[in-house]
Amino acid sequence: MEFDKETYRVSGIGNPGRNPLIIGIAFLALSLVGYFIDSGQLFHSYLIAFTFWCTISLGGLFFVMIHYLTNATWSVVVRRIGENIMALLPVMAAFAIPILVGIGNLYHWSHSDMVQSDHLLKGKSPYLNTTFFIIRMVVYFAVWILLSRYLYKLSLRQDTEHHDYLLRKAAKASAPGMILFAVTITFFSFDLLMSLDAHWYSTIFGVYIFAGSFLSLLSFMTINIIFLRKRGILADTITLEHFRDLGKLIFAFLIFWGYMAFSQYFLIWYGNIPEETVWFLHRWDGSWKTISLILVFGHFVIPFFVLFPMEIKKNIPVMLVMSVWILIMHWIDIYWLVMPSFHSHGIHFSWMDLTTLAGIGGIFIWRFLRIAYSRPLVSVNDPRLESSIKIIS
């Protein structure tokens, strides 16, 4: 494997991502078997895996747009990695199709007989119905793919053309893009996750999902940078100072996630209205209580104290462990959001939880590596690349 420090390109790696691809295909095939064993389980497991990977790539889109909007300098060196992650949204769009197939298994509101006998669902049916659900999913992915493709194209053009106006164009697109992002990720989370328990509602839910999404993106990015660094790639470009900045962002968004999670829980607990508390009661039932507590400590308390000291954010082994840890917690978070509506009285792990995760993940990482290694790993002609490399956090 050769890394050219002038062009920031990697050459001589043969077939990048072959192994993830094999793993991905194998596990997806294995998951397919699950369809004939327990289709309900399969679709729920699949939904978790899909949401996990999709929220990471959505985080990438957010990262790139916020980079342009704030005109940040430190993140110039990592912007391309964010772009490579958001470029996986078309893959995620393809992976959304099985969810549309599984609507009947996943969502009560898709059964007209159930809707007829349920006053609340009847009221919601103008929004919660199969046709509109599919239309909305198409719209979400159309918006995300158009945005991410447009931004990526400008960035790649900038690599060869040296025109700063391309960056300004990207910033201009990011402003309305951010509004579209906020609206789509909110309703995406309402549709995909909140409507699993179609009676329940919470206004903060979209922001909660966004918090987890951006946090997992930052962790995924950090793992990726460490992976490159181990191979001597970009080690002088993405310095420990950038690790500290990434670490600070991870720390900040851990708190932000905790803030959202606490706001949601606390206001519902204090109000104590049955139609709202029921959702948390399901998650306090039997062994679900364990998962709820794991989230409190694992998704907030422990990483908070680990990442608190200033210098720890420059400690690469710790950052690696914490990033992997946070990704696991993100998966548990989604598991906790989805599964209680299928296994309502306790945790019931299935092998399909793992095969779907590895299946989508294999393809996700295969595409990611293909994209990453076919272009410069850094936006080479960004006018602030030098200042970004030299930044002191």
Binding site: N71, D164, T203
Partner: protein, 466 residues
């Protein structure tokens, strides 16, 4: 600035809102210190006279309130919370911009904050003081207001620790303390400058005491900077927590329109929104009167306008999601509360809120308007009117139409509601004018720190410049 050079400034990483050619270390010290050392300008006396008169109106209104009781306000049976809580939330919210600028923007390495942080922080303190008046005088028997604090007593009577009103007492007083310390820490080097420049003995003595023996040595600077960083770290969670706690005043109840999970972040966004609007209003006046255009440039104002556009959009997001979820919930009371807001007897207030907070800030999409001082001056005032109405809509619409239609009533403020609120501006501006007259309204040390000359690798013009 020509288009070509603008690009370099924009993308070279040396982005600088200040023009180094117009600023020297000495020039900054002379300019900022000069404001307090010159003879008091007549316009200051006029402004102070007006502000102090309003302050007297506040004192008079409070005096009559204590004499007569809260019956002088327009409160009625379902609407037991009126302007007092609205004003409280509004003033606390205004304070938030100061802390955001001084703490969060500091942690985010936003160097442009140095031109505006000092008086934004001062504004925070004065706004909190104005805010604290309202819950204080609302208790009815004001002579037992100290019962709000959990003081040990022989009757073993304690405040209700489960009440968000008590959390407010803790949150806001912590906030005030932290903001005061932060502000004062930042002031120390500047106070020492004042001490060194003072010509009268008494002035030298006062500033000497206030500057705590600052000599500007290496060790002092290191301690100072570490203290500043730690205080910024402490203040940052407060920006989020204080208004989150304030939002629980409403959100922990089960009243439709109040009980919704998005309230904490939504209130924080709204607080920063109105706070920045107030900073813009005051900045524009101050930079005009004291000709500070070279220190507080259009770039600074434009950045603040961008933040207003952003936070305005965030409250717009919250308004929309609340409305959607009210429908989605299938709960007829929720649905009624929101339909009533938009189309009921207080719809005029709702649409004022929407126009001022969501529609008007959209003008800041246009760069020309983001940089037009008259436009942003008017817009910033409109935004604060809108944010006041936001709290009005939340408080009054939900209360005036509660679960029992027989209770329903229409809330109208009385003369005393208005005079107390208007009077609180008197307190705010009295303090603010005194601050401008007596203390450095812009942080001299921090401005100098972000100038290129302060960079040890900086080459003087004319010298070797790579």
């Amino acid at each position: 600035m020509a288009n070509g050079t603008e690009n370099i400034a924009e993308y070279s990483g040396t982005e600088q809102a200040l023009d180094p050619d117009k600023l020297s270390f000495r020039g900054i010290t002379d300019k900022i210190s000069g404001i307090t050392e010159r003879r008091t300008p007549p316009v200051w006396f006029v402004a102070f006279g007006a502000a102090f008169s309003l302050f007297l109106v506040l004192l008079g209104s409070i005096g009559y309130l204590i004499w007569e009781g809260v019956g002088i306000w327009g409160l009625n049976n379902p609407v037991g919370w009126g302007w007092a809580i609205i004003n409280f939330v509004w003033w606390v919210g205004i304070g938030h911009a100061g802390t955001l600028i001084s703490a969060i923007l500091f942690l985010l390495r936003q160097r442009w904050r140095t031109s505006i942080n000092r008086f934004a922080e001062a504004m925070t303190l004065f706004a909190i003081l104005c805010a604290l008046i309202f819950p204080g005088i609302h208790v009815g028997r004001i002579w037992v207001a100290y019962w709000m604090a959990p003081l040990p007593n022989q009757m073993s009577m304690w405040p209700n620790f489960r009440s968000p009103l008590l959390w407010d007492v803790f949150a806001v007083s912590t906030y005030f303390t932290a903001s005061l310390l932060f502000w004062y820490t930042g002031l120390i080097p500047d106070l020492a400058t004042f001490r060194d420049r003072a010509k009268k003995k008494i002035k030298k003595l006062i500033f000497g005491i206030l500057s705590l023996g600052w000599r500007g040595g290496n060790r002092q600077w290191r301690h100072y900077e570490l203290a500043y960083l730690i205080l910024a770290g402490i203040s940052t969670p407060l920006v989020l927590s204080v208004h989150s706690v304030v939002s629980t005043d409403f959100a922990v109840s089960i009243l439709p329109g109040w009980h919704t999970t998005i309230f904490p972040p939504y209130f924080v966004a709204g607080a920063i929104f109105s706070g920045f609007a107030m900073v813009v209003t005051l900045t524009i006046i101050a930079r005009k009167i004291f000709s500070l255009d070279h220190i507080i440039t259009l770039d600074h104002l434009e950045k603040m306008n961008k933040i207003m556009l952003l936070t305005g959009m965030m409250v717009g997001y919250a308004y929309s999601i609340e409305f959607f979820i009210a429908w989605y919930s299938g709960n007829i009371y929720e649905q009624f509360a929101f339909l009533n807001r938009a189309f009921g007897n207080y719809s005029w207030a709702y649409w004022i809120m929407i126009s001022c907070n969501v529609l008007i800030p959209q003008i800041f999409w246009v760069k020309r308007w983001r940089r037009a001082v008259p436009v942003m001056f008017v817009a910033s005032i409109i935004i604060n009117i809108g944010m006041w109405f936001e709290r009005f809509v939340i408080v009054v619409t939900s209360l005036s139409r509660d679960f029992l239609p027989a209770n329903w009533d229409y809330y109208r403020p009385t003369f005393w509601d208005i005079s107390t609120f208007v009077g609180s501006f008197g307190l705010f501006f009295t303090l603010f004018l005194l601050f401008i007259r007596l203390l450095p309204m812009i942080s001299m040390t921090e401005i100098k720190g972000v100038l290129p000359q302060a960079d040890p690798y900086h080459h003087c013009p004319g010298g070797h410049n790579e």
